[in-house]
């Protein structure tokens, strides 16, 4: 049984300009102990999908199954069990901690809400801060006294408090300096090997995803275009969007960078208010044909062993 299983998940927002289908039928499985990287450009709905799993945004359709329980229709207290299994790390280390709470109070919050006693909570907070490499006097200090990387560690400690099985990492290192990024990534990997926690790792930074993910899902305008093992996707991307995305990532070696074939995408991500009919990628796809403007592709097995949603691979 997979830890997390999404079936045709939909999230839509009613805005003044019309209905935005931020997540438009996503199906995905995440196994125990696995790290799944969710990549895509800004505005493709990857963060919204993460928030939908946390039930931070209303889910308008589909199933979100956590260890056999569909949490999509649940609300309020019914979610207590799921909250212990799934936690989240946020993007902005400056915004994700209450500036008027001490670090100790922030980290203790999930424990207090779960009904832990004061003594046990204090002990657990000490342990958590040690795990993430913060000095123990950190707990009576305030977030503004810490650097971005340290604050992200505080956020990680808070997410770990109840020993969750899955942590949704919403761009956890995007706001950090490159030098600090590696430290936080290494910390996440250490915690994974120590506690067997799974990650849904949302990022637009392909080099980070290549480093940390076991499997990768590529998202575009609310739907998945390609899902597969990291090596399958990096070595032989099948979907034209995945190819363009990987080609756009910078390469450190200038010789290799000059030598490679590049498909550069034209234009911007279409407005999710008014997505093109058929395949949402047809307006920018180098391979687009008449069929793409009519029929929406679905995920199906392709040559590299992964799954891709394209009519022509």
């Amino acid at each position: 049984m997979s830890l997390l299983s999404l079936r045709d998940v939909r999230v839509q927002f009613n805005t003044a300009g019309g209905v935005v289908r931020a997540v438009n039928g996503v199906s995905l499985d995440l196994a125990v102990g696995e790290t799944l990287g969710l990549v895509g450009e800004s505005g493709c709905g990857k963060s919204t999908l993460g928030k939908a799993i946390m039930k931070l945004v209303p889910v308008s359709g589909g199933e979100i199954v956590v260890e056999g329980v569909d949490i999509a229709p649940l609300s309020g207290e019914q979610l207590t069990g799921m909250r212990r299994k799934v936690q989240m790390i946020f993007q902005d280390p400056y915004g994700s901690l209450n500036p008027r709470s001490t670090v100790g109070r922030s980290v203790a919050q999930p424990l207090v809400l779960a009904g832990w006693k004061a003594g046990a909570t204090a002990e657990r907070v000490e342990t958590l801060l040690r795990w993430v490499g913060l000095p123990s006097d950190a707990k009576q200090r305030y977030p503004h006294e810490f650097s971005g990387g340290q604050r992200q560690r505080i956020g990680i400690a808070r997410a770990l408090a109840l020993s969750p099985k899955l942590i949704i990492c919403d761009e956890p290192v995007s706001a950090l300096d490159v030098s600090v990024r590696a430290q936080v990534i290494n910390l996440l990997e250490d915690l994974k090997s120590e506690f067997g926690v799974s990650y849904l790792f949302i990022s637009h930074d392909l080099s980070v995803v290549e480093h940390i993910a076991d499997r990768v899902a590529v998202m575009y305008l609310g739907m998945l275009f390609e899902v597969g093992g990291r090596d399958q996707i990096w070595k032989s991307p099948q979907h034209p969007y995945t190819r363009a995305l990987l080609a756009a990532a910078p390469i450190a070696n200038p010789k290799l960078a000059r030598a490679r074939q590049r498909t550069v995408l034209q234009g911007e991500l279409p407005s999710p208010l008014n997505p093109p009919p058929g395949c949402p990628f047809n307006s920018r796809c180098p391979m687009a044909q008449d069929r793409c403007r009519v029929e929406k592709p679905v995920l199906r097995p392709v040559a590299n062993g992964a799954q891709a949603a394209c009519h022509f691979v």
Binding site: E77, R83, N98, R100, R158
Partner: protein
Amino acid sequence: MQRFEFLGRFARNRGALVGACLILLVALMAAFASVFFPTDPLRIVGLPELWPGEDPEFPLGTDSLGRDILSMIVHGARATLLIGLFASAVATIIGVGVGAIAGYFGGWVDEIAMRAAELFQTIPNLIFVLTIVVILGSTLTNIVIAIGIVSWTPIARMTRAEFLSLRDREFVQACRSMGMSDFRIIVSEILPNALPPVIVLSSLVVAGAILFESAVSFLGLGDPNVASWGRLVGDGRQLIRSSWYICAIPGIAIMITVLCLNLVGDGLNDALNPKLRDR
């Protein structure tokens, strides 16, 4: 550490410092009124209409009945300040409550709350206060409640604006993802962050409340058992041509106190606003 920084920033604004000192003086005067003037201030103690300085026993003179004006001012400070503080507290409680709920939940809740606030704002404040006092009766409590009811709207708007900007911040989402209840998020997470500008506004409402109470008392609708400064002005108004000091002295007291409260409000604004910190 943080607290000292705050005091330092507050003290950098000279006007605020002077204001705070004078307010403190008035507050001390109010607190120890019965020590300085143990007798009832409304008792007749001397000749009527003695001008200030005419009799050294009554440095600020006596009113038309022969009551000591200094004693009445000192005792009146207590009533005036208490009315101001409590009316501001009532306004702050209503305003923060309505604003927090409107800003946090949004949607139709927000719509109803803001339309209600607009309704209150369209009614002329003084007439509204007078109406409430006339209907409920001229007691101190009713006057405080009436002033609170007309003064809560700016506080509600300010609180709502703060909540709107804070409710989607990631630390609030983190709390929601832990399953924290809405009530707890509002009170223990967002409110502490939303309060600084609200405190500034509340301090200004104290000044406004003192003026409202003075106006109510001047019109003779104040609590007859309380000698607030507004009532002293009102009592003296028949003699304004001959013995104008009876009106002027409590009037000056009101003016200075309100001015100082505004200065303190400005100082709090500077000290609590992090964007002005380094100026």
